[in-house]
């Protein structure tokens, strides 16, 4: 198909389109990406290192993100598995509502999500006084950051797993049960191996989004330097304080993490798609025979 296309279209059309696509890509993606590193390294490698690790606030922001993001991902891993299992394996009242609810974080603005948590857990909020009486701090502290991040990234794992588990169907799990396996054995030996690539793919997407989350986290963090500033917040704050090298240094780390995620995603995406296609093919075979 693609071969025929290139032969049919005249050379200048091909060139024009290719050049146009390249220009857009270079202006919007490549140049900004390079400039991030360029700016970050403009004072030399030593200054870059100092900006990243000798400023305690920046160092803290990196560590905070590396703690908050995986925690949120772990929460969503558990939630995603449970939700996908419920939705793909059972018919129950409210099933469609649950599917819709899982998607809401995609449509609600992160800032609004953050405000919701303030409304819920803030001093004047519904649970605020109860939390204060029991000495639990949610807002302006890491638990709030984890909550906000988890909320924003809620759909990633579940959305990846639901169609996959529906395509695979319940038969293998039932077979395992009839062969004497308990629920734990069914999950570890049958369900998990069947969905592992889809799950990993969902986790990678979830993690990428969790590390970069700004809006919701910004609202619940309270911007306490050295305590609740994650990397994206640190980038902004350094930028506002005219600490451009510091800002770009943190930005460059975020960018590196993004590029790494992208590479991982490409590898896993291929595997995940194979798994999905295999599941669909088997389901089709079962359906047509």
């Amino acid at each position: 198909m693609s071969i025929r296309r290139t032969r049919q279209d005249p050379w200048y059309v091909r060139w024009l389109l290719t050049v146009l696509a390249l220009v857009v890509l270079i202006v919007l993606v490549v140049v900004p990406l390079i400039s991030v590193f360029f700016e970050a390294l403009s004072g030399g490698i030593r200054a870059y290192w100092a900006n990243l690790f000798e400023d305690p606030d920046t160092r803290h922001s990196i560590l905070l993100t590396l703690a908050v993001a995986p925690t949120a991902v772990a929460c969503n891993l558990l939630f995603g598995l449970a939700a996908a299992w419920c939705i793909a394996r059972f018919q129950f009242p409210g099933r469609t509502l649950l599917i819709t609810l899982i998607d809401t974080p995609f449509s609600v603005s992160p800032v609004v999500a953050g405000l919701l948590f303030v409304l819920l857990f803030g001093q004047q909020g519904y649970l605020g006084s109860w939390l204060r009486d029991h000495g639990i701090k949610v807002l302006f502290s890491p638990p709030g950051l984890v909550l906000a991040t988890t909320f924003v990234t809620l759909p990633f794992v579940a959305r990846e797993l639901i169609p996959l588990m529906e395509a695979i169907g319940p038969d293998e799990e039932l077979a395992a049960i009839s062969l004497g396996a308990n629920a734990w054995q069914v999950f570890w030996r049958v369900t998990l191996p069947n969905i592992r690539w889809g799950l990993l793919y969902g986790v990678i997407l979830c993690n990428a989004r969790a590390m970069g989350e700004f809006g919701a986290v910004s609202v619940v963090s309270g911007h306490i330097t050295g305590q609740t500033d994650t990397m994206p917040l640190r980038v902004e704050k350094a930028f506002q304080e005219f600490n451009l090298p510091g800002s770009f240094a943190v930005a460059s780390v975020l960018t590196l993490l993004a590029v790494g995620t992208l590479l991982l995603k490409v590898i896993v995406e291929h595997k995940a798609r194979q798994q999905m296609e295999e599941a669909k093919r088997l389901a089709r075979e079962a359906g047509t025979e």
Partner: protein
């Protein structure tokens, strides 16, 4: 081990899948649950396996009630319609699964799996994955996987429906022999009456969540309990007749039916199997139907003759012994007179 099912009822929402069903499978028997799709046969099988819970009624293994025992505690082997082999495991690991979850020792597992693979002549391909196997091979793996933990009961859900015809016929005979060798009480579900009659010791015919008839293939075939069973077994001619004064009438054709001595007329259906019809060159006085030969097909020991009665727009299938056929010397287009040697009358309370 014998299995009995007592007064099982199961609903899915407002749909009554099983309506007070009772059933008995003796130790070592091979029983077929036969019926059209949606008749509840698969649901019944899953209830016996413990994969589904009945709303009321009980399931017994020998004299033990197992109704509330979980599937994994019932020691039942289940073969799924589409085999449900573990796609990420090799054939060997598939068969070994039930043994691993029971914590058999590695040596015993290897021995048992090897023996089973040998039994189905698949020792050479234990390292393959399900996607690399043919349909017939997958079926056999599914079967030995179910048998590996030495279940006391083997349940098979439409075991041959996902296979093409040739493989299906082959595996049927094989399953029969296999069952004789192992003697595990087995129940299988099918919608194919030929398959049920060919393989099973006992056939249970189901319709709309009820059992219509249970018996040996011969009993069911010779003495169908009702119109549904006769119709479902297939290959039967249906004549819509009128009953009056001990007679069943269709135009000129009259048959005795002493069970209905009343003077008022009533509609009924007469069922006649192809080999129960006779053909004559000449009218034998009142009790036959005039028809024309449409088509003749040789089928081994019988000739299948299709005739049409233009008067009633009725097509009838008649099986004649080849000698009989030769005597009559029929050709398509010939005029014949059809009369039943034997018939079954069902006054309708059942409708298709």
């Amino acid at each position: 081990m014998s299995i009995s099912v007592r007064q099982i009822t199961k609903r899915f929402g407002s749909f009554l899948a099983l309506d007070n069903v009772s059933l008995e499978a003796e130790t070592g028997s091979l029983l077929a649950l036969l019926g059209p799709s949606g008749c509840g046969k698969t649901t019944l099988l899953r209830i016996i396996a413990g994969l589904e819970m009945p709303d009321s009624g009980s399931v017994h293994h020998l004299d033990d009630e197992v109704t509330h025992r979980r599937a994994r505690e019932r020691n039942v082997g289940f073969v799924f319609q589409h085999f449900a082999l573990f796609r990420h495991m090799t054939v060997f690991e598939n068969v070994a699964f039930g043994l691993r979850v029971r914590h058999w020792s590695e040596d015993r597992i290897r021995q048992r799996v090897h023996d089973l693979l040998h039994l189905v002549r698949m020792e050479e391909i234990g390292w393959k994955y399900p996607s690399q196997l043919s349909g017939g091979q997958r079926q056999r793996v599914a079967l030995i996987r179910a048998l590996a933990p030495e279940p006391s009961v083997l349940l098979l859900d439409e075991p041959f429906s996902a296979l093409d015809r040739k493989v299906r016929l082959e595996l049927r005979g094989w399953l029969r022999r296999f069952h004789e060798e192992l003697g595990v009480t087995s129940i299988f579900v099918t919608h194919d009456q030929e398959e049920a009659f060919d393989v099973a010791d006992k056939v249970v015919i189901m319709n709309r969540g009820r059992i219509e008839q249970a018996g040996t293939p011969l009993e069911v075939f010779e003495h169908p309990a009702n119109a549904f069973v006769l119709d479902f077994l297939g290959n039967v001619n249906v004549l819509n007749v009128r009953l009056q004064n001990g007679k069943a009438k269709l135009g000129e054709m009259e048959m005795d039916y002493p069970n209905y001595p009343h003077p008022e007329t009533r509609d009924a259906a007469v069922y006649v199997r192809p080999h129960e019809l006779r053909l004559d060159r000449f009218n034998r006085g009142g009790s036959s139907l005039e028809a024309k030969v449409v088509h003749v097909t040789p089928a081994g020991s019988v000739m299948k003759v299709r005739v049409r009665s233009d008067e009633f727009g009725l097509l009838l299938n008649v099986d004649l012994a080849t000698s009989e056929f030769a005597e009559l010397g029929l050709q398509p287009g010939d005029r014949v007179y059809v009369s039943p040697r034997q018939m079954r009358v069902f006054v309708p309370d059942y409708s298709i």
